[in-house]
C-alpha cells in the first residue's frame, strides 16, 4: 500500500534521509523509532508529500507521490495524519475542525458531514466537547479530536508523527487506547513513537532509524528479541531503562 524506494533527501550538504526503502502492506501497523534527529518525522512526512525528497520514489496504492502530475490534495485526502502538536485549527470548534475537510475536500453536504462528525466525537468520548475550541480542551482531548479529524476522511491509512510526545503522562493512555482500537480494526498505520509498549502490543513491524538511514526493519518480536545492530540495542537500552 505505502512503498518507499531508495528515498534520499538533502538540505544543502546535510543528508536528512539516506536511501530509505520501506513497504507497508494493507492492514499492517509499522512503528518507526530512533533517536531524535534520526529522520523519522521527515520520513513519515515524505509518505504524503508534506516533505519533498531529493531522490527515490514514494507510492501510495501505486500512485507516485513525487510525480508532477499527481494531484497531491486528492492523494492526501485518502491518508490521515496526526501530528505531535495536534495542529487543530485554533479558530474553529472541535466539530468544525472535523467537518472542514469533509465539506471542502470531499464535498459532502453539511448534514452528512455533521453526522459523521458527531459519530466520531462520540466514539472518541468527546460528544460533550463538540462546541469547544482547541484552547479549551486538554492535550489528550485535542489529540483525540485530531484523530477524529483524520478519520472523518475515511482514510485508507493513517500516519502518526509522535502523537503522544507532547502530552502529559496521564493523557498518553487515552490517546494510545484510541490508536490500539484503530489497529485492532485493521487500519493501515505508520507510527513514529517512542512508546515501546504500544509497539510491542500492536505493531507488526518495527523500523529503527539513525542518521537518516533505516538501520533495522524487523518483525516486532524479532526486534525486541534480538535487534541486530548495536545502535538499536543502545537505543532500546536507553529508553527501556526506566
Amino acid at each position: 500500500m505505502i512503498e518507499l524506494k531508495n528515498v534520499s533527501k538533502w538540505y544543502g550538504a546535510f543528508r536528512v534521509l539516506d536511501d530509505c526503502s520501506l513497504r507497508i502492506a494493507k492492514g499492517e501497523v509499522v512503528v518507526i523509532c530512533g533517536p531524535s534527529g534520526s529522520g523519522k518525522s521527515t520520513l513519515i512526512k515524505c509518505m504524503n508529500g508534506l516533505e519533498p525528497f531529493t531522490r527515490g520514489e514514494v507510492t501510495i496504492d501505486g500512485i507516485s507521490v513525487g510525480a508532477r502530475d499527481t494531484q497531491l490534495p486528492k492523494l492526501r485526502a485518502r491518508i490521515g495524519m496526526v501530528f505531535q502538536n495536534f495542529e487543530l485549527f485554533p479558530h474553529m470548534s472541535a466539530a468544525a475542525n472535523i467537518t472542514l475537510a469533509q465539506l471542502k475536500v470531499l464535498g459532502r453536504d453539511r448534514a452528512t458531514a455533521q453526522a459523521k462528525t458527531d459519530a466520531l466525537l462520540a466514539r472518541m468520548g468527546l460528544a460533550d466537547h463538540a462546541a469547544k475550541f482547541p484552547a479549551q480542551l486538554s492535550g489528550g482531548q485535542q489529540q483525540r479530536v485530531a484523530i477524529a479529524r483524520a478519520l472523518a476522511m475515511d482514510p485508507i491509512a493513517m500516519l502518526f508523527d509522535e502523537p503522544t510526545s507532547a502530552l502529559d503522562p496521564e493523557m498518553i493512555t487515552e490517546v494510545l487506547d484510541v490508536m490500539v482500537g484503530l489497529a485492532e480494526e485493521g487500519m493501515t498505520m505508520a507510527v513514529v513513537t517512542h512508546e515501546m509498549g504500544f509497539a510491542r502490543k500492536v505493531a507488526d513491524r518495527v523500523v529503527f532509524m539513525d542518521e537518516g538511514a533505516i538501520i533495522e526493519d524487523a518483525a516486532t518480536a524479532a526486534f525486541f528479541g534480538t535487534p541486530r545492530s548495536e545502535r538499536a540495542q543502545h537505543f532500546l537500552s536507553k529508553i527501556l531503562q526506566h
Binding site: F83, E87, F89, P90, A101, A135
Partner: protein
Amino acid sequence: MGSYRWNWPILLADPYYGWIVSGFGNTCLIAVLAWIIAFPLGSAIGIARTTELRPLRFAGTAYVEVFRNIPLLAQMFLWYFVVPELLPQDWGRWVKRDMPYPQFLTSVLCLGLYTASRVAEQVRSGLEAIPRGQHHAGLAMGLTPAQVYRYVRLPVAFRIIIPSLTSDFLGVFKNSSLALTIGVLELTSQARQIEEYTFAAFEAFATATLLYCAVTGIVILAMRQVERRTRIPGTIAIGTQ
C-alpha cells in the same frame, strides 16, 4: 501666552466652520478610500511573500522594498509631477487635464499603494507567526494550498495582526495630511488656511489636533471591540493593553 489674543469663536464663524468640516471630511474620505486600496492589495502581496512560488515572492518583496523605502512625501510628488510626464503623451494629458479630482485621486492612489506595503508586511508576519504544522495539517487533510490559506492560515493571521493593522489604518489617516502638499484641502491644510486668513494659529491647529486624536480614540475603541468579538475562545487576548 504673551500678547496672543484667543479667538475660539472664529472657528464657528462662516466660512471657517465649513472649512474644518469639509477638511475633516476629506481627511476621512482619503483615509478610507486609500485603505480600500491598501487592505486587499497589501493582503495579496503579503500572501505572495509567503508562498512557495519564487517569482511571486520576489515580486512581493520588490514591491514592499520600493514603497516603504521612499519617503511618502517624495512618492506624492512622484505620482503627481513625475508619472504623468512619463506616460504616453495622450494618457499624460488625460491625467493632467481630464481626470476628475486629480489631486484628490492622486493622493488616494499614492497613500493606498504606500500603505499596501505596510499591510503586506503585517500580513506576512501574521502568516509567518502561525506554526508550520498548521499548514501541514491542512495539507494532510487534502486541502489545496489555496484552501489552507483561506480556511486555516488567514483567519488566524488576521486575528493576530488586528492591533498592527489598526495602527496602519491610523497611519493612513495621519499620513493623509501629506495630501496637502499636492493641493488637497484636508484637515491640516484647512487648519493652515484658517491660520493664514485669521492668524488664529493655535485655535485652528488645536482643533485639528483634537479631531485627529478623537478619530484615533474612536478607531482604537472600535478595533478593541472587533478584537474582542473575534477572539478565539480559550486564548488570551493578543496585543490589547
